[in-house]
């Protein structure tokens, strides 16, 4: 099967999943108790006023009508307006999504590379100190409790040593200065990203490293490695050219499988580091019953995961010639 039909198939799949999820979420939000109006705790607001607001927001229509309206708007590129921001949800998401993707992808890429690299070293020096130490470190990092770790990291690196900012995505003092150029702004963002990125990588690299290590060990026992040795290929070349490419395949698979997991960690990190991303927007919207925003944020997070999965699959075909879709 060629890559084109694979593309089509996966795209269809993504679209179908997307709509199923949208419907489920819509129903969920509809049947959930509470609405944004009841969240308004102004004692001078009478029940007529509340009712008026509900009808203005269109929440008094029957379910099907609401759903159809939502669908219709969806196809017109309108996901509704946030109850609290009063702005189109799309705009809010457009603002947050890039931040999330920035943090999310960099953390995955860095932790995957770090994991692969360290796993390779550990496996190559199996049984030596570096291996024991590395494996224990990976195990411990992998099981760290993220929010806790994040707060401690902030305390140590942000407060005690003051090396890094405590949170946020940029230094407002810099950005409000019209003389600041793009380069500095870029560096500023990277500077702010360091700690959240570090936290995420600490949590994630462990599992990649462990997978890489064990799959390296498996591959080292494969016959073709023996063949390569018998060919007279040097050790270093065997490690890098023969073992590592094969051994990193399971890592790629596990990236795909752990994406959803990374999203969880990402959302937590966003909250603790005040990173203006979609994850914390979602949590905030959910706690405030801001349905349009919550629904759309969730959908977009799902889409990110779906697409990332897709990319991982394609990457996998590229890395492993045996796989054909």
């Amino acid at each position: 099967m060629d890559i084109k039909s694979f593309f089509i198939k996966r795209s269809v799949e993504i679209i179908v999943i997307f709509f199923i999820m949208m419907t489920i979420l819509f129903l969920l939000f509809h049947f959930a108790p509470g609405d944004p109006v009841s969240m308004m705790v102004d004692p001078s607001m009478t029940s007529e006023d509340a009712q008026y607001m509900i009808s203005q927001l269109g929440l008094d229509k029957p379910l099907l009508t609401q759903y159809l309206v939502y669908l219709k708007n969806f196809f017109q590129g309108n996901l509704g307006n946030s109850f609290y921001y009063g702005e189109p949800v799309i705009g809010i998401i457009g603002n947050r999504l890039p931040n999330t993707i920035l943090l999310f992808t960099t953390s995955i890429i860095i932790s995957a590379f770090a994991g692969v690299f360290l796993g390779k070293i550990a496996a190559w020096h199996k049984g030596e100190k570096i291996d024991t130490f590395g494996t224990i470190a990976a195990l411990v990092c992998h099981t760290l409790f993220l929010p806790w770790t994040a707060l401690i990291i902030i305390w140590v690196f942000g407060y005690k040593t003051g090396l890094f900012p405590l949170g946020g995505m940029l230094t407002p003092e810099l950005w409000i200065n019209p003389e600041t150029n793009f380069l500095i702004k870029g560096i500023d963002i990277i500077y702010h990203m360091t700690l959240p990125l570090f936290t995420l990588c600490i949590i994630h690299f462990g599992s990649y490293m462990l997978i890489m290590r064990s799959s390296m060990l498996d591959v080292m026992g494969e016959d073709y490695i023996l063949t390569a040795k018998a060919k007279g290929v040097s050790d270093k070349c065997i490690c890098n050219h023969h073992i590592a490419p094969n051994a990193s395949l399971p890592v790629v698979t596990s990236i795909g499988l752990s994406l959803a997991f990374s999203v969880n960690g990402g959302a937590l990190t966003e909250i603790i580091f005040s990173w203006p991303g979609l994850g914390r927007e979602l949590i905030f919207a959910v706690t405030n019953n801001d349905y349009p925003l919550a629904l759309a944020s969730f959908l977009f997070i799902a889409i990110v995961v779906l697409i990332a999965n897709f990319i991982v699959d394609i990457l996998y075909t590229y890395l492993d010639p045996r796989i054909k879709y």
Binding site: A32, P33, G34, D35, P36, V37, S38, M39, M40, V41, D42, P43, S44, M45, T46, S47, D49, A50, Q51, Y52, M53, Q56, L57, G58, N81, S82, Y84, Y85, G86, E87, I92, N95, R96, N99, L151, I154, W155, G158, Y159, G162, P165, L166, G167, G168, M169, L170, P172, E173, W175, I176, I271, I272, F273, S274, P276, R280, F284, T287, N288, N289
Partner: protein, 550 residues
Amino acid sequence: SKLDRDILKIGISEEPETLNIWLASDTNSRKILSLVYQNLYIRDPETLKLIPWLAKADPLYDPEDLSYTVKLRNVKWSDGSDLTADDVVFTVNLIKQFKVPQYISKWRFVKKIEAVDKRTVKFYLSKPKAIFLTRSLGIPIVSKKEWSLVVKKALSKKKSYKALINHKIENPLGCGPFVLKERRCGAYIFFEKNRFFFGKGKTIKGRKLGPYIDKLLFKVYRSADVAILALKKGSIDYYWACIQPGHVDGLSRDQNIKVFVSKKSAFYYMGFNLRKTPFSDPYLRRAIAVLIDKKFIVSRILQGFATEMSSVVPKGNEFWHNPDLPMYGAGLTRDERIQRAYKLLALRGYSWEIPPVNDKKEVVSPSTIRLLDGKPMEEFTILTPPAGYDPHRAACGTIIQEWLKDLGLPVTSRPMSFGALLDKVKARHDFDTFILGYGMLSLDPDYLRSFFYSKNNRTRGWNMSGYNNKEFDKLADASLAEMNNDKRRQLIWEMQSVLLNDIPYFPLYNPTLIEAVNNKNFTGWVKMVGGIGNIWSLCSVKPAQGTSKK
């Protein structure tokens, strides 16, 4: 460090979601907008009396035609144009046209409003209302220039109110001390001094107004701990949110940090569902009131940063608070409380399989309480907001649950998300008891009427308990119409004592507000009810001494 002293940096806990004043319902948007849109009258930080702000003087009441006349100061919008009577008329008309839910209830009784001249507005009421001054006039005045087009467009839509609140405001035009320069979502909001601020250099109530700072920067810190660290580090000068008692120790140890503890006009209470048994019985409610140890709640759960509440009107609101009310077992020990509550219920006709107090008057662990009709009491729940939203109320729920169990009441405390909780309590009236609170009550006790008036006992009405007392209704009506403050106070006091006798809500505590500033770069914060985050502070904060501006 020049930069540090140039810009006042204030941390806020969440992104202000909107700059549209008609939509803004979250605290942070309101905080930001309070710097931009100004009111006709505001409260004096010390006496809490209303004093003219945009208005030139106290309003003139004409009992003849039930009208108030308000004269305006010479105020300019931040773009340099004049704020006129037309703007005020426009604002009120906007509220009435769009039935803006937050404000409309306070304006329904205003028949007509007219601009007498450029700086004079006249309001005609349909009947005398005590709250006109304190509540109705508390609206922010918006500029006709900014809004008239929006209003026109919105009115042409089917859902006009929705169109109004969905209008995106990038740069609100106000007349406050600061003008918004730049807003970056999720990161910061940047203000500069308003050149046209009417109060600049004026002395109002003995305060010479600034603003003395050129630039004001709001930074968002989503996690309180991080904000506190930022405050200690000097990344922000003030964290505009309530700080948890746990932080106080650490903060007070820091030389640069000053902790402000201010009163709050707040009211935290336990509510009962009077619509059904068993809580329709006032004796049971009183017994529960006896069991609840407010001192414990205040000293343990709130770490002393609260006051016990004895009435529905906070003690701090001295004028309206009735000091002479039943105290329900204040000062008693645990066992004494149980004995008293037991006596109360036993006399009323409740019975137990094993009573909580045995023949020797000792407290024992009871079982199966029976109601007046002889049936065992069914399990009931105390609904509280989740710990993530407010750890204190959740903890109160748990502790009260244990106390009630001592009397054999089959109760569980169940925190639930705020939306779901309100839906149950307010919209569906499907609950037994709950613990809720109001963090920002108006100083005018008009809310008593909202909470307990029998007509408000309906879906989404504010009478969540389902309290229905003719006598109270009468008092409430009278208090609304009474224009004489002292007479009105008498009525309000009476209302309080009726309520504390019936206990539809049992008042628990009134937390105090803990805030902290970093004194290194700026000083001059003004403390008042509701904390130091107020317009007075921002008009008086100055760069710290010994720092010359170069």
